[in-house]
Subunit: 379 residues, 2 copies
């Protein structure tokens, strides 16, 4: 289980297959985020329809509500949320660090207060792994510290902790887990500092884990800094393991990430934008609530195969948004996710055909990126 | 067009077919309500899937937003909201009367202020018909006054106005409408007063309209008063025209209405309850947010064919509701509508088989009605 085979490469871009207990995952792949055991406003059958193959869910949120023990008792997260394909859970690390004043970090773990009711809890590397065992995702993540990427002293300390905690996660997985059922991925930290990233990549590679993530990006640095860091760290990552860029998911970031050899992405961006009335298209973002679309009988994006684009006009979408109708968020979520899963499928095909460089250049020529994307934090 | 054929009868219950420009409608039928050009949280393809065949939309809401002229310009309401089956619009009468202090009624019409921005507008019978022409539903309703049903003087005046306005609606439809494309239904008023109901039924029957509604029920009277009124007025309604009980839609009201010869129902109840976390079942209502369901691995309702009941547990639904996840409202809306469309299909089959009386008795024996249902106002 969890064999990873690379099929085609073009430059640093590559296609592959990761075997999981819930099926073979074609990479590169984008994972929609189901923070609270549901991709917001999208049902599992719709995820299948739009081509999603991997779903991420959040350890912090599910631990607090409804509780990982309850989910285990009900047969695990796959069964609970009705998703029968490959699944990934994060470690809860990023979420608890994001709590700011509500959490306190030490070398052993993190004490934090629930954003729901203020109750006090503690995550350690062992606890994170135990929760992720209860949830039962195919891919689980090592508990890490994800600091703002620009302050060297903070990043240095966090990277050291991330390494200590990766060892403890590996040991806990060996002690209480099932390596045939769940693959533990390590997370390379180090902010924007090449030497720290190199140390982190070397340390984690030595652990010979079944996969590796690049953490600590898309959390405050510029797009240029993110790409520079990727350019620097990707050659240091094992080529025979899947490589996962956490929390990244704008169209241009997916293109740029695949071009640098990333295999897995996740991001709340497509569904979060939808709830704010924004559509992702091949030409850039559209704010569907604006008056410009009030009388527009065209589909949101011509040629898009999603349910919304094949059945409704921009004018109707705009009406739904102005009237705060749930269907508007449903349709925009379907559309935004469809664009990203379609991009991934097109990129896989282009890599296999040897046309990826042209595909990427062509896409980026027409896509008008928003400068705000690098600052969109994960959930 | 709009031929109505009665097929089978059992007691007063009957099955029939109403021909419309968007297909033949099998009756008795329940119409989900799409107030703002969408059945809340349910897409048209899901309406087809769950067996809905007729959808109601609201003249008042669509006149204000996005505007009936815009909808006409975009090809009409069917195309705008992506519903290709039979459709019905109300007259706006009930909504403007429900505005209370924001509206002023005179014998010519109603001046009212928008609940959206406070702007002043005026509906007359002619205006209501013109708006409904722009929307383009298959069945349109005469503009009526729908007063609280218990105050005789008010009801008497409202019934007189309703008759005057029905004449004006008929004339406006003849002048500017298309009788082959839209069927104008008259609305029998008269509150809980048998003589007023009898006068109203007689007056409207003389107009020989293609269908008739019973208005002014489910707006403040008790269930017993509603049924007594139906018992009294139904024998006075033409048997060769479809008969529509407006704003009624709890399971027991559907059974009791069909038993009295009603052919068409509509109600916001199933989707409104869903947004409040309540499920309709054959045993009564369930509040899915309660702790009792937190660990319940059973489906919401065993045997229900809806997407939610065939894929998820009560525990999952309860979690979605506690977490305010949109999917929870989607799944409950699908379920509640599925129950009502299934009931209607079962009743049609039972009438054709001659087993309706037993079917109705059996259903009502197991169904624990909520005493609150009669007080649920339409949207």
């Amino acid at each position: 289980m969890f064999e990873f085979a690379v099929h085609s490469t073009q430059g640093n871009a590559r296609t592959g297959t990761l075997q999981t207990p819930h099926g073979a995952l074609q990479t590169p792949v984008f994972a929609p985020v189901g923070t609270q055991a549901t991709v917001k406003a999208v049902a599992p059958r719709e995820l299948h329809e739009l081509g999603a193959t991997l779903v991420l869910s959040n350890t912090y949120h599910l631990y607090l509500r409804p509780g990982d023990a309850l989910i285990a008792q009900l047969g695990g997260l796959h069964r609970f949320m009705g998703w029968d394909g490959p699944m990934l859970t994060d470690s809860g690390g990023f979420q608890v660090f994001s709590l700011g004043d509500l959490r306190k970090i030490d070398d052993d773990g993190v004490t934090f207060r629930s954003h729901l009711d203020g109750s006090t809890h503690r995550f350690t590397p062992e606890k994170s792994i135990q929760i992720q065992h209860n949830l039962g995702a195919d891919i689980i993540m090592a508990f890490d510290e994800c600091p703002p990427p620009l302050d060297r002293a903070t990043v240095e300390r966090a990277t050291r902790r991330t390494h200590d905690w990766a060892l403890r996660c590996r040991d806990e997985q060996a002690r209480s887990g099932d390596m045939a059922r769940q693959a533990l991925f390590g997370i390379v930290q180090g902010g924007v500092f090449p030497d720290l990233r190199a140390q982190s990549a070397a340390f984690l590679t030595d652990l010979d884990l079944p996969g590796y993530a690049i953490g600590g990006l898309a959390v405050g640095e510029t797009k240029a800094q993110m790409l520079t860091t990727l350019d620097q760290v990707m050659p240091l990552m094992p080529t025979d393991k899947p490589r996962y860029l956490m929390g990244v998911g704008s169209p241009e970031d997916l293109i740029n990430g695949v071009a640098r050899g990333i295999d897995i992405f996740d991001c709340v961006l497509p569904t979060r934008l939808a709830r704010h009335g924004a559509a992702l298209t091949r030409r850039g973002r559209l704010n569907m609530g604006t008056l410009a679309y009030a009388t527009d009988s065209a589909p949101l994006e011509a040629g898009c195969p999603c349910y919304g684009c094949t059945h409704f006009s921009r004018a109707y979408l705009r009406h739904l948004l102005k009237a705060s109708e749930i269907l508007g968020y449903q349709l925009l979520s379907l559309h935004n996710l469809t664009l990203l899963t379609t991009l991934m499928r097109e990129m896989r095909a282009a890599i296999m055909d040897g046309t990826f460089a042209a595909y990427a250049a062509d896409f980026l020529m027409f896509y008008r990126a928003s400068t705000k994307e690098a600052e969109s934090p994960p959930a």
